[in-house]
């Protein structure tokens, strides 16, 4: 007894050396966000114009270590601590934080989306007569949560990251605080969001109770294949429902259309793309890493979610007259396609993951682009009603062409991006000739046809119908918005014409579990 005590005292605690390179993206974003806040506090009005530029620079600088980590791929996956200089990488706060190919692709996606969001926000915010510096600081905080999320392999860090993503977003949704619609958007989003968090946490506490650990890989090890106990099922269902709210899967989507319409439009783009992607990342981490043995519970549940999400989303989108609401419901339907590969992940989890990630990347480009056009058009028409897009070809042919590209891509028509994303999903669904997968593929195919109808209806409005008030004066497009449209058009076209560019990244994507 005393011998053990002596050895305990005598044993020097060896401080593991931190792998600074692996956490550089998060640290840069944290430091940069803090710096922007301090600069804003010190110089106030004098620097206000510079804050968006500074924030977007922070995002681009944080992208550098993501690229160098990717280029230096030999050491992947790596963690937070370097346990042994000779054995690179594993270990790491017992594997709660893992940097692998998968997380690097997603970090790149989050940072680039955030950069485009800042481009979209610059004019909207500075012309809106509301506090704008704080808005960018909150975006930086939210994006930090997304970066942490893509590396999280532990229930607690997933929860904290998810809240770091959501809590700033609640504030930003209610940003136009003298506008009743924005108030309502924020309140609905906040109430549903915290409700979802509570459900998610309860599920997590049950999973912890079963496995005796919050680490995802320990949970996988603790549950045997096909082991079926009510408490396991309950834990899994609650956890997936919690994520279902975040990714706006039907029937947990009710907040999405209201929040999207009422919130500032750039923030809507942020919610529809980045925040939704973060929810998917959390879902993938938990399903692929923690629940590989529970496919008999997870697959049917996600199958039903995916099928009703794409169907309900598309059917309601059909009868929308407001373009932002239509994009909200279309986003709900797209979430259904993204859920689909997870309904057949058993045995092909790498392929399913890479299909979802491919979809997330391409969806980010085309949806951000569509929102960019909506924001530009609203500068002239002051409306997002579908009829106000009439005659756009006459006064803004370039913009109309760009929007048509995004709409074709959303509908999945080759050769622009979206078809490749859908193709990957179908390939995973039909792999292995499982009845459930093929049935879901059929539902997805029918839905793609329904969706094409309302997407092309927007295009018809812009190309062929006259402008409602006969006002054909041109739209002045500020450079930031022009850059955003340019970037997203390029990404949408390249990912469709040369799908290899995307698949070169996503084919290697597999979620490292950590140890």
């Amino acid at each position: 007894m005393s011998g053990t005590f002596v050895t305990l005292v005598a044993a020097e605690i060896e401080r593991p050396s931190i792998d600074w390179h692996a956490i550089a993206p998060e640290l840069i974003l944290l430091g940069g966000g803090a710096l922007v806040t301090v600069i804003d506090l010190i110089w106030l009005e004098r620097v206000r114009k510079l804050i968006p530029t500074l924030t977007s620079l922070v995002f681009l600088v944080a992208l550098i270590p993501v690229i160098t980590l990717w280029a230096d791929g030999s050491g992947l996956p790596r963690g937070l601590w370097i346990i042994d200089e000779n054995v690179p990488a594993t270990g790491v706060w017992e594997g709660a934080f893992v940097v692998d190919n998968y997380s690097l692709v997603l970090k790149g996606l989050f940072l680039l989306s955030a950069y485009v969001i800042v481009l979209l926000s610059t004019n909207y915010m500075s012309e809106g007569d509301y506090y704008d510096s704080e808005y960018y600081q909150l975006i930086a905080a939210s994006v930090l949560g997304m970066l942490v999320m893509s590396s999280s392999r532990d229930l607690i860090s997933i929860f904290v990251a998810l809240e770091l993503v959501s809590i700033p977003a609640y504030l930003m949704a209610a940003w136009r605080k003298r506008d009743l619609k924005s108030n309502e958007a924020g309140l609905k989003y906040m109430l549903m969001g915290v409700f979802a968090s509570a459900i998610l946490l309860y599920g997590m506490s049950l999973l912890y109770g079963i496995a005796g650990s919050t680490l995802l890989s320990d949970i996988a090890a603790a549950i045997d294949i096909g082991e079926s106990r009510p408490v396991i099922t309950l834990g899994i269902v609650f956890t997936i429902i919690g994520f279902g709210f975040k990714v706006s899967a039907v029937p947990f989507h009710t907040w999405a259309p209201d929040t999207y319409e009422g919130a500032p439009t750039p923030l809507t783009a942020f919610l529809a793309v980045a925040s939704k992607a973060a929810g998917f990342v959390a879902l993938i981490n938990v399903v692929i890493v923690a629940l590989p043995t529970q496919a008999n519970v997870v697959e049917p549940f996600i199958w039903v979610l995916a099928a009703i999400t794409m169907t309900v989303g598309n059917l309601i989108a059909l009868r929308q007259t407001n373009l932002v609401r239509m994009l909200a419901y279309s986003g709900v339907a797209q979430a259904g396609y993204m859920l689909a590969p997870l309904a057949v992940y058993d045995g092909i989890s790498d392929r399913a993951t890479s299909a979802v990630v491919t979809y997330l990347v391409i969806y980010a480009a085309m949806n951000l682009g569509a929102f960019a056009v909506v924001i530009i058009a609203a500068r002239k028409t002051r409306s997002a009603e579908l009829s106000s897009y009439g005659g756009m070809f006459n006064y803004a042919p370039g913009l109309t062409l760009a929007m048509t590209i995004f709409l074709f891509s959303l509908a999945g028509i080759p050769p622009v991006g979206g078809w490749w994303a859908k193709f990957e999903v179908f390939r995973v669904l039909t792999e292995g000739n499982r009845t459930s997968g093929i049935a879901l593929a059929v539902i997805a195919a029918v839905n793609s046809v329904i969706a094409a109808f309302y997407y092309l209806n927007i295009a018809k409005q812009m190309w062929f119908l006259p402008s409602p008030d006969g006002d054909n004066s041109r739209i002045a497009i500020p450079p930031a918005l022009l850059a955003a449209v340019g970037l997203t058009v390029a990404a949408t076209i390249v990912s469709g014409v040369l799908p290899g560019v995307v698949s070169d990244m996503t084919d290697f994507v597999n979620v490292a579990a950590g140890q």
Partner: protein, 101 residues
């Protein structure tokens, strides 16, 4: 009578159910928010009970994170409720129907 961990889990499940029901039934945003806090505390009880049963500290660590995050949610949530109430005193969530469809 020995009070085992499962008693705590039952209390936790009951609290969670009360909170969830309250959130769905009540229409005052402030009361709904209180119900969410009830649900979060039910989760805390559940984490601590499992932690004791398993003789593992991770569950108790989780509670600290939940507490901190809940505090942050309260700050943000109450500020949004105040912003709404300033514009429309005594509004219930049913009155907030600018956005629908």
């Amino acid at each position: 009578m020995i009070v085992t961990e499962s008693w705590y889990l039952i209390v936790s499940a009951l609290l969670f159910a009360i909170g969830a029901t309250g959130l769905l039934v009540r229409r005052n945003p402030l009361v709904m928010f209180m119900c969410v806090e009830l649900m979060l505390n039910a989760v805390n009880i559940s984490f601590v009970a499992f932690s004791t049963a398993l003789q593992d500290l991770a569950g108790q660590t989780a509670v600290f994170f939940v507490l901190v995050v809940a505090a942050a949610e309260v700050v943000v949530g109450l500020s949004i409720v105040v912003a709404v109430m300033r514009r429309r005193p005594s509004a219930t969530v049913d009155d907030l129907a600018e956005l629908k469809g």
